[in-house]
Symmetry: C2
Subunit: 407 residues, 2 copies
């Protein structure tokens, strides 16, 4: 039961639409529609037939893949720079990667690609590049954006090195795992003289409803996840997400948190207990205080003397009004992974939580601390990985990734 | 460059189309189209707009998911029966699973599902159930179909227990990993009193071209993989895939082989070396002897004195004419997986190779032996997992999975 009318939901989300105003891809089979990276402010009519896929241009003030609508598959790889990499060679890697990003997202093979057939246009492919604290230092990229640093370890974190840290990040999103894996492989292969793989995380999402229309999507708990997000293309989104001044202007920061979810104990709860932990209805994501998914929570509402949205409900603890107006743009993906045990194999489920914000220290960290202190969901979730990256500013055709910082 | 006209390729594939003759799903939002499980014989016109997704009915002479068109995501889990499971309790599990299959593929939650919101209609979801040799014995399912047994270990196999064997198999295919993972979780959870997870394999495929039209798809080597397949809905497909007589009539057998692919050394080859190893052109999957992907190889063709399709080329060694007319229906999915090493993380790539045939011993085994002896691709591939399953016959509404065998 999703009660929200589709037009409203679509407007709410404001994601880059499937039939936007861009030109048809010249290189493709006439099927895909080309959209600018940040064309998020003019959602198409809800009656437009869903397109099979889009070719998303990588150029613009911002990298593609942040404001872009979620896709079915997201793969993240973090790399560590080799000891002898300096500013000059990091610039070489960024120029190489720029060529890769331009070719792969257009559906061509990367330069020197031995399997160019694995690239396809209209694959909804975006590639987004970030730099960790280790790369944001003198002699490399210089200082990161204001407030950018490693995320302090939270009290409840149970971090594993295996899922944490990294000097560079590549996020590849698309509609199928084969195309995405090929793009990741090319990016990692081209980085080989400069950096080696540190970790890799793969997740999936269900970004469309049965009619092919954008929907918020759900995490493995069944929660609609991402409802309160600022809408791409709005001033609120821009001020939340993009760095405004200095050499990082047009960039962002990204917190990557790997959150293990204990579905076995979660599923022992009643629906009422689950909904009170979240603060929203499971069926449609609407606040427990009523309305639709797009509506805000009424944090003061009481029924039979008690708060409708409990004090430690996740959506109260994360609410901007209780966090000095602080927001982030969340874009998590669900993961599953088999873990070998003495008795056989167990499937571990969780969320690769991605939060984009202009200022990591001022936005992400305080909200995370508030959740760390008293989020009821903490009982069924454990953060096992944590990493911070500064998302490089966008680049124009003829320019390259990071030119503002390394050029 | 895919030179094959789309209508031809579509006809060739003959997959269950996106706008077939089924009735619109009553329970959905009016978007998905319901198709019978084995409606593979009447492909729609190529000009039909691609539908956002399909609800595929599970009922019929055959289980859904075999003849059904490939999807973006496939997850396979093998389970081992607990020691005290008998015919009666196995029947109970099958009745439970039947309810799960009917609900989940329709986009409803499974009975007792604590997160029914993770089910969606029009998710292209199919669930296919099989039984390993350990379940095909007196006191359980009784003997399997003719020729069904564990796959003999091949000379070049480097099998790991971790990816091999199993008493029961569940194959879940769909368009996004979140919906698929939820269905797998429900099936495994409902099996808990009867069986425990043995292994899990997840793969992806790129089943549509940039216009959203069906395509054969490619493995990680960049090869078009599956070109010579019999076309669902044809007599050749039926005689290749389905068991014809006895209690298993309407069922099939399935070989699951996990094939690691060494992309690093493969990518060192020239394109000519790669194409001569495969016997087909990498660009469009056409035989090296000319024509289009749909055309057969000319195994006698020579150029400058040497065979155009070398003696040990993969597609020659696997060709029905050199294997006594033996065929199988192949439906592999690409996997990637991170492997921790002393120096960090490495991504391993490969193929979860699925071969369906009526008679495992008479069809799959001899062809596999022929490849084991002299397939040039063996140099860059290693089979690390192997398992055989008898695919249960289909079931009608009101009946249940395996009733012919356990009822």
């Amino acid at each position: 039961m999703t009660g929200t009318p589709h037009v409203s939901r679509r407007r709410l989300l404001g994601y880059v639409g499937t039939t936007g105003a861009g030109a048809v891809a010249g290189a493709g089979l006439g099927a895909g529609v080309v959209l600018a990276a940040d064309a998020g402010n003019d959602p198409p009519a809800a009656s437009a037939p869903p397109a099979p896929g889009r070719t998303i241009e990588p150029w613009g003030a911002h990298q593609a893949g942040v404001a872009t609508a979620p896709t079915e598959v997201t793969e993240l790889v973090a790399l560590d720079l080799l000891p002898d990499v300096d500013r000059e060679s990091l610039g070489r890697l960024m120029r190489l990667w720029t060529g890769d990003v331009e070719a792969l997202t257009a559906g061509r093979g990367a330069p020197g690609d031995p399997a160019p057939w694995l690239s396809q246009p209209a694959a909804d492919l975006t590639i987004t590049v970030g730099a960790g604290p280790g790369a944001c230092r003198p002699g490399l990229l210089g200082p990161g954006p204001t407030g950018f640093a490693a995320i302090p370890v939270m009290r409840r974190d149970r971090l594993q090195d295996r899922w944490s840290g990294g000097d560079l990040l590549v996020v590849v999103a698309g509609r199928d795992g084969t195309t995405v894996a090929h793009a990741v492989r090319r990016m990692v292969a081209d980085a080989r003289p400069f950096a080696r793989l540190r970790w890799r995380q793969v997740g999936s999402w269900s970004p469309t409803d049965p009619a092919g229309r954008p929907q918020t999507g759900r995490n493995h708990f069944g929660q609609v996840d991402g409802s309160g997000n600022p809408r791409p293309g709005t001033p609120l989104f821009d001020s939340t997400v993009w760095v405004r001044e200095g050499p990082w202007a047009g960039g962002s920061t990204l917190a990557v948190r790997r959150i293990r979810m204990d579905l076995d104990t979660w599923e022992e709860l009643t629906r009422d207990e689950q909904e009170r932990s979240v603060g929203r209805r499971l069926g449609d994501g609407a606040p427990l205080t009523g309305g639709m998914e797009i509506d805000d929570l009424d944090l003061a509402a009481r029924a039979q003397g008690r708060l409708v949205v409990p004090r430690d409900a996740h959506s109260r603890r994360a609410h901007p009004s209780l966090n000095g107006g602080r927001r982030m743009f969340r874009k998590g993906v669900n993961y599953t992974r088999e873990v070998e045990t003495r008795d056989g194999v167990r499937v571990e489920s969780g969320l690769v939580f991605l939060a984009y914000q202009a200022d990591l220290l001022d936005q992400f960290v305080p909200v995370q601390r508030s959740l760390d202190e008293a989020d009821r969901l903490n009982e069924w979730t454990t953060t096992v990985g944590s990493a911070a990256f500064a998302v490089l500013p966008g680049f124009e055709q003829g320019s390259w990734l990071g030119e503002q910082l390394l050029g």
